[in-house]
């Protein structure tokens, strides 16, 4: 075990996978001598060379389409989109091509490939460096979408993603990069795609979250325990698609109360599916209202600190809603 932040955990896992398998190549903007704007590929160009560490032109659709072609011809590409906000030009390649290759060929072709994407707010990124994009892609059959929130999960899920026979969209919350630290096993362990994780056990209510919000929920949960002695069970979704309904429903059936917290625009967001799933499958086990906390329905957050702060669901607001629900 070694304590690492999220950036280091991802850097090390990616590095070790590349060292072990030369079919793996990384491609993206500024990932070479610059080491990536978030330093995930720091030093890679010197160790693996520019044939395996490819600084691409400024063209996201091409980056994804190129990775697809590489995957079709025996490589294991790990593409980086510089910011989640800039993945939109690649929407057609991801939705029409990457996600559908296996299905449209009736299983004749498969596409092992990973698209790494730094997402999320709280870093003064304003409208175009703060977006959440999971709702768009979780809805796309054929694509797996993971969003780890801790260094260990990031490392373990990245290894699973690289070894997965199908395409994986790998979401890394920018604010957690250096903020969140934790113990990471030194051996090449994996965390399975498709399993949510109970990050904190409790019996009074269930709180479902992912990304930065998971940590805010954990903080609110500790405060709830300190101030009221009540225990929130906090579930880290980890894999947004396919969604691990079982873990969520088991917890809700146990606590009888549920709330879902996410940073993205609230309406038609990923949290809607989680709430809808609980409502459809566990409504009669509930003894309290079903709550959802999401970001306001405006395009991401403003640059001004006052606007960014007003956008992000904060620990205090989450705590207050937890309290109401627990007391209900």
């Amino acid at each position: 075990m070694t304590e690492k932040n999220v950036v280091t955990a991802i850097h090390d896992a990616l590095h070790d996978e590349m060292a072990a398998d030369d079919r793996i190549v990384v491609l993206g903007q500024d990932i070479g001598v610059r080491g990536g704007v978030f330093r995930i590929t720091q030093g890679f160009i010197d160790e693996f060379g520019d044939r395996r560490v490819i600084d691409t032109p400024l063209a996201e659709s091409m980056i994804v389409g190129l990775a697809l072609g590489m995957s079709l011809h025996g490589l294991l590409p790990v593409a980086e989109i510089e910011f989640a906000d800039f993945i939109h030009p690649a929407f057609d390649q991801i939705v029409s091509e990457v996600a559908r290759m296996r299905y449209r060929t009736n299983g004749d072709f498969g596409l092992p490939m990973v698209i790494r994407v730094p997402w999320g707010g709280g870093i003064h990124g304003a409208l175009y460096h703060s977006q959440s994009i999971e709702a768009f892609y979780a809805h796309v059959p054929g694509l797996k979408v993971v969003a780890p929130s801790t260094p260990a999960d990031a490392a373990g899920l990245l290894r699973s993603a690289i070894r997965d026979p199908d395409p994986v969209l790998f979401l890394e919350h920018k604010k957690t990069y250096r903020l969140v630290k934790g113990e990471v096993p030194d051996e090449p362990f994996t965390v399975p795609i498709g399993n949510a994780d109970v990050k904190r056990e409790g019996e009074d209510l269930t709180v479902v979250a992912y990304g930065l919000m998971l940590h805010q929920c954990l903080d609110a949960a500790s405060r709830l325990e300190e101030e009221t002695g009540m225990h929130a069970e906090v579930i880290d979704v980890r894999t947004i698609s396919p969604l691990d309904k079982q873990t969520i429903l088991d917890s809700v059936r146990k606590t009888g109360k549920a709330m879902v917290v996410y940073e993205d625009n609230r309406t038609y967001g990923a949290g809607a599916e989680i709430v809808a799933t609980i409502a459809e499958e566990a409504m009669f086990d509930l003894d309290g209202p079903l709550l959802r906390i999401g970001g306001p329905d405006v395009p991401a957050m403003g640059f001004a600190a006052s606007l960014e702060h007003a956008f992000m669901p904060d620990t205090d607001r989450i705590y207050q809603r937890m309290l109401e629900l627990a007391r209900f």
Partner: protein, 338 residues
Amino acid sequence: MATRVGPETSHEALGLSPDDLLAMYRFILSARLCDEAAFRLNRQGKAPFVVPVSGHEGCQVGTAYALQPGSDIWLPYYRDLAVVLVAGFTPKDIFLGLFAKADDPSSGGRQMPSHWGSRRLGIMSHSSPIATQIPHAAGIAYAAKYRGEKTVAACWFGEGATSEGDWHEGLNFSGIHKLPVVYVCENNHYAISVTQAQQMAIENVADRAAAYGFPGVVVDGSDTLACYAAMKHAVERARAGEGPTLIEAKTYRFFPHTSDDDDRSYRSREEVEEAKHRDPLLVFGRYLTEHAIADAGTLDAMEAEQRAEIDRQIDEAWSAPDPDPRTLEDRLYAGGGE
């Protein structure tokens, strides 16, 4: 500015034997006959959707024949019936797709007809959205080069496809890395009803190659040997590590865009009839007779035999089983259903 290749006079100079020429003619003929049969089946209500190839067979066979089946990679688009025949599809494979049968090699009846794909034959599956396969070709070529193979990736598309961002992005990357890829534009001057003049401000798509740092070549698409010559040279360059080539074959689509289209609204019958004077089937047939590769009788016999063979394969395809609706959710992910 793009260079021009052809007219090509001698097949010997190209290293093509009489057998090669007859094989090429057979592919052109077979594609033409598949087309006619498909429209017949469409009128009979047996084939809901047909994408015609007629008019394009010459440039398709001419370019495709210069590749190495088994090792080179094919990235065709929906118009490329003749390309996939050269790549190894049988007429039966074509009609299994047309009838959306369970054994359709491209998609098991999931995709529309003419959305080709076969891992075994190295034909990369494509979708309906235009030009998405261009960056795929670059990625495949990059992987082939990375792995130290001599593989060449060839990618076909219409002139309308050149307007999509993916086309620009894919060619740009190919040029930067001098990738072993050949881009073939089948310029039939229409994107459904949109004319070339509405599509671009230039006369030759091939001139765009200069924007990406590699050569562009314009060739007469009804001159099968000229297309072969241009492709042969491009493939050699690619194998030699000299990078991509953009070949533009000027061609014409004899039928409507698809069986759902009515082309009378956007082009005159005279224009269509005029174009048929340069029918690649006639042009190449004439070459064979003039060079005493075959006489008219041989070609007629070949046609009769092809017709019978195709009809036989159509019957086999027609009687093949439909996809089982219970497989609807299979093969979305690895291991998902057998």
